[in-house]
């Protein structure tokens, strides 16, 4: 057994002082050591995308990164998308309004993926967004309303009606 080593993580603007074994993935550290269970694990081999988080603004599979590698980075999870408990992030709002989720298990991964992408590429068009969305798996929605929600969020983030 290797033993736990101290680690400082910055997640959603908060500092977490935790101790983890090197083999702890970022996903498990977020869920179990930081109590941020919005990041889900669907496959643990990097295909489904339910565990997608932003590390320094870039989407990554948190099951394919060790927590120790995230030291001194800025991590953002689904819990960090909304500005406060009153308002939702435009992507969250769009998913709600357009029935972009059913069981909700894949949803955090999609929300983080899209929010991260649209914040960097506000002018992204449908074909480009479809390609980004193809990163993650959803088993419930057939993706139709995920695409609708994404397009709607993109318009909202550009300030269009």
């Amino acid at each position: 057994m290797s033993s736990a080593i101290p680690l400082r993580l910055y997640v959603n603007g908060d500092r977490y002082e935790i101790a983890v074994e090197p083999r702890r993935t970022l996903a498990d550290a977020l869920r179990e050591d930081c109590g941020l269970t919005g990041t889900h694990l669907g496959c643990e081999h990097g295909v489904c995308g339910a565990c997608t988080v932003l590390v320094d603004g870039q989407p990554v599979r948190s099951c394919l990164m060790f927590a120790v590698q995230a030291e001194d980075t800025s991590v953002r999870t689904v819990e960090g998308l909304a500005p406060d408990e009153e308002r939702l992030h435009p992507v969250q709002q769009a998913f709600w309004e357009n029935h972009g989720l059913q069981c909700g298990f894949c949803t955090p991964g999609f929300l983080v993926l899209i929010a991260g992408y649209l914040e960097e590429h506000p002018d992204a068009e449908e074909a480009e967004l479809r390609e980004v969305l193809s990163s993650n798996l959803c088993r419930c929605t057939g993706y139709q309303n995920i695409l609708t929600s994404t397009m709607c969020a993109a318009r909202a983030m550009r300030g269009e009606p």
Binding site: I5, G46, R61, L64
Partner: protein, 286 residues
């Protein structure tokens, strides 16, 4: 789906990294992007006793011109390759190949050198390296620097010519002049999946004649396969769609692909026939 325990080392520079791996080369693994290694560790198919994380070693990322070559740092992320402003047929090829690598969240982490050192027969970067006869620069604490040509580098599935104590530091690719036509075509079951068969091409055509022909195939052998048969058909011939079709036929006839759940050898040969023209931008249907 949790990895076996390991010791984690995060060197601050290349010398530290080389020293770290030299301590126990057989049970250590270099951790670059980790997008192939960590899934294998999660399945416990790989169980290194120690990981040497080179992600924070400076000077290992980026593209730079180096005479008539382009040197790609081993830690250059796929996502950076996808956005490289490198001009000409080489830049086109790199951008198009990068777009085939997994999905965006894989491309933000995965690295060019990591992919080449991992040596998967369907990997886009292994194909490109073999296609262009790239030169791999590797270093070890004990023996310093050596350069391995692509023809020698890729040896078998997940097996390269690198010794366990060596780190791949950069990959040199030839700059291609404007007479080259380059491209990549893949067939995968779903968007972003590993290709069942992939074809890459770099063909130099001047005054209507093929003056150099490089065709490299993935998914048809243990390692990326240069199709000597296709290249022979092309070289010195007059460029035409029919010539490319003939080259594809020759490549398909000449290769001896494996069979698995995704396709038997005959199917893989069919894909070779279909994909070589598409790699060269021809929309061949029948």
């Amino acid at each position: 789906m949790k990895p076996s325990p390991f010791e984690y080392v995060r060197p601050r520079d290349l010398a530290e990294a080389l020293a770290a791996i030299a301590q126990d080369p057989d049970d250590s693994k270099i951790l670059a992007g980790g997008q192939s290694l960590i899934p294998m560790m999660n399945f416990r198919l790989a169980r290194p006793a120690r990981l040497v994380d080179v992600n924070r070693v400076p000077g290992l990322a980026g593209l730079a011109a180096d005479g008539d070559r382009v040197r790609v740092g081993t830690l250059t992320r796929h996502h950076a390759m996808e956005r490289t402003p490198l001009p000409g047929p080489l830049g086109d090829l790199l951008r198009r190949a990068a777009a085939h690598v997994g999905h965006l969240p894989i491309r933000t982490r995965g690295t060019f050198g990591g992919s080449i050192a991992h040596c998967d027969a369907a990997s886009e970067w292994c194909l490109v390296a073999r296609l262009l006869d790239a030169e791999m620069t590797v270093r070890s604490q004990a023996r310093g620097t050596r350069v391995i040509p692509a023809a020698d580098f890729f040896q078998a599935v997940f097996t390269t010519a690198m010794a366990p104590d060596e780190i791949l530091t950069s990959i040199a690719l030839p700059a291609l002049d404007e007479h080259y036509r380059t491209g990549i075509a893949e067939f995968a079951r779903r968007a972003g999946d590993f290709a069942i068969v992939a074809a890459t091409a770099a063909v130099r055509v001047e005054d209507g004649l093929v003056t150099e022909a490089r065709i490299c195939l993935g998914g048809v052998a243990e390692v990326p396969l240069r199709s000597a048969a296709a290249e022979r058909v092309l070289l010195g011939a007059r460029w035409s769609p029919e010539l490319v079709t003939a080259a594809a036929e020759a490549a398909a006839a000449d290769c001896d692909p494996p069979g698995d759940a995704h396709g038997d050898p005959a199917y893989r040969r069919d894909l070779v026939r279909a994909l070589i023209p598409r790699a060269l931008g021809l929309d061949v249907r029948r």
